[in-house]
Amino acid sequence: MNAGIAQLQMQFRDYTISLYQQGFLDDQFTELKKLQDDGSPDFVAEVLLLFFEDCVKLIGNMARALDKSTGTVDFSQVGASVHQLKGSSSSVGAKRVKGLCVTFKEYCEAQNYEGCVRCLQQVDIEYKTLKTKLQDMFNLEKQIVQAGGVVPQVDID
């Protein structure tokens, strides 16, 4: 069903482009895609999986650190986690998350509790959104492959 494949491919292209345009992904993600080859065919998926697990862990750490009920808030610890998250997100090209981490870091340094809490919530929402969106993109890829087509290279200018 060539028409079906072409349609799927078109869909995939549009969706991918939209992700970039909406700022969810940046060039680093493109770089990441370049690293996927016959030797490591699921490289991107593996990296993203690791990233999201990391997110969960770090956000948990941050949440615990920002929990006032245990005592005073250790901003350095929060900062450390934020720093980690920033590094991770920049590695995978999660633009929005990275941006949020930058802001988050500033609040940590300023020891702005409310700011931190707010950022934390935003980060949580943001990574989950990204996760869903990426999931959709992967589903499209899978559909194309199952239909016997080839996943198109999407060049972002």
Partner: protein, 738 residues
Amino acid sequence: MEVCNCIEPQWPADELLMKYQYISDFFIAVAYFSIPLELIYFVKKSAVFPYRWVLVQFGAFIVLCGATHLINLWTFTTHSRTVALVMTTAKVLTAVVSCATALMLVHIIPDLLSVKTREMFLKNKAAELDREMGLIRTQEETGRHVRMLTHEIRSTLDRHTILKTTLVELGRTLALEECALWMPTRTGLELQLSYTLRHQHPVEYTVPIQLPVINQVFGTSRAVKISPNSPVARLRPVSGKYMLGEVVAVRVPLLHLSNFQINDWPELTTKRYALMVLMLPSDSARQWHVHELELVEVVADQVAVALSHAAILEESMRARDLLMEQNVALDLARREAETAIRARNDFLAVMNHEMRTPMHAIIALSSLLQETELTPEQRLMVETILKSSNLLATLMNDVLDLSRLEDGSLQLELGTFNLHTLFREVLNLIKPIAVVKKLPITLNLAPDLPEFVVGDEKRLTQIILNIVGNAVKFSKQGSIYVTALVTKSGTRAPDFFVVPTGSHFYLRVKVKDSGAGINPQDIPKLFTKFAQTQSLATRSSGGSGLGLAISKRFVNLMEGNIWIESDGLGKGCMAIFDVKLGISEQSNESKQSGIPKVPANPQHANFTGLKVLVMDENGVSRMVTKGLLVHLGCEVTTVSSSEECLQVVSHEHKVVFMDICLPGVENYQISLRIHEKFTKQRHQRPLLVALTGNTDKSTKDKCMSFGLDGVLLKPVSLDNMRDVLSDLLEHRVLYEAM
């Protein structure tokens, strides 16, 4: 009285007598008539009877007789004149025929008799032929037996089987009671009973060979009948009852290997014979027939042939066994020799080391001693010590080299080097001595001489040094010219043709000196070790005489040739050698390490197998960096902490990427500690590259101060990383990727 024409009998017939006569005549007539009929009948039956005419005559005669008798019947009574007439006619006819028959029989009866004799003769002949036929059949039987026997005998090459089979088969064919074989003993003076048919284990029984009966048998090649009482025939317990059967003996020639010369038939003079004795069953009326004797003779001959074949085979088997033994022995000897050589080499190597160590000590300390304050006598002594020990060291080296060269265990150590530089260095070494002797040395390198070549640098140096050194040593005045060029044409030695192949060429070096020269007759001796031309001039100069021999061996190893030309004593000489060298791929490119090279990054730089270490605390970025490097073909090891990094890092890793994200100096410590780890093997230290998100100068300065070889800005793109790796491996330093 009437006259009647009838004839009356003279007397009155008696009635009875007349009757009897009447009847007899009747029967006679019948018989006379029936006999010819029978004759005709039987003659008709049988086709063969040559005398029909006689039969006819006989028949006529008988018929007429019968007629006569029949007509007689009528004459008993009164009969008419007609009857008398008929009677008379009949009688006349009968008389005629019978006379004729009688006359005929005179001719015929001898013939008939001769037929009989011929028949007799033929019968005899037939009987004779029958007899002869029987004889031929017997002979043919015999022939068959002989063939069968021969086949049996010849089918084996084992001496004992041959002899045994002979006896068995003969016994069977001729239905013998006993066969025996007497073989001559080693001394040749006796015959020993070796084989018998019936008795399985004959008692050791010998008979002197000089018995007349034995001589008689040996004297002829025919089978000889001998007396059953002769010593050779007395094999069974003699019991008086039996009438011993006839005995025949025949000689069996035993051909010895030495009888067979290549172009000679076996000599018949010195022959050894065995004796075969055959006995017919006792108490039978059998006699030896001629054909049986012939059979025996034929068999004896066949046995002789078969035995000689067996002897030849034995001989060749023995020779083969001997050869195999020798092979084994040779193999053992070879292995022993190899072990000996190995042992000697080991010994030499060890001794060499053991000898060199004190030698070096002596040389080193003597040199040091030279530097100190010494009185002139002391200085002279020290110089002598130094010179002698240097000489000794050279001698040791030469001997070791030569012995390694001789048994082919020396191998060239190939490497790339600068040929031009090599020449200049050699000349620099020689120059001091040459200057002292006021001998200018000129070096002339051909313009097409490649600069970078592949070969054994050390040994080539040795060769050139040796040749030029000799030139200097043996020249008192004049000058020395050293020329190096690429040669293509054939050289002086006619069996050595120079063919420059693709990546190889032949270097020719000519060293001309104006020294003492060499007598052309001495030239071949030059290259033999330890030989030196014994002119006074050379006696004073040192050296072991090994130099040229070693040089020659090296030149040969390099697939080249070396020779010396001289116009005679006092006219100087020219040493020339050719060696095969490889052309280096980087030839004619200046590759000085000081000049920065423009990085020409190939699009697909090959980093396959390049071992790198990635240190990053962040799992995700660690994974991404790893993926990047793996994609470029590197072998990546990841660690997540500095401690782990220190444990894992080794000289195998060419680059260490470390993530420095936190400010502060802790991360940089790792760099210092890696430096520490590799102080001893500085050249094996991996390159250290920091991955950081900070772009400011302070980070860069800090990195530099902590001994990092480069800084990279995160995140690194694929192209960026590729360029970076190329640059790093080229220059071992990278500070521009900011």
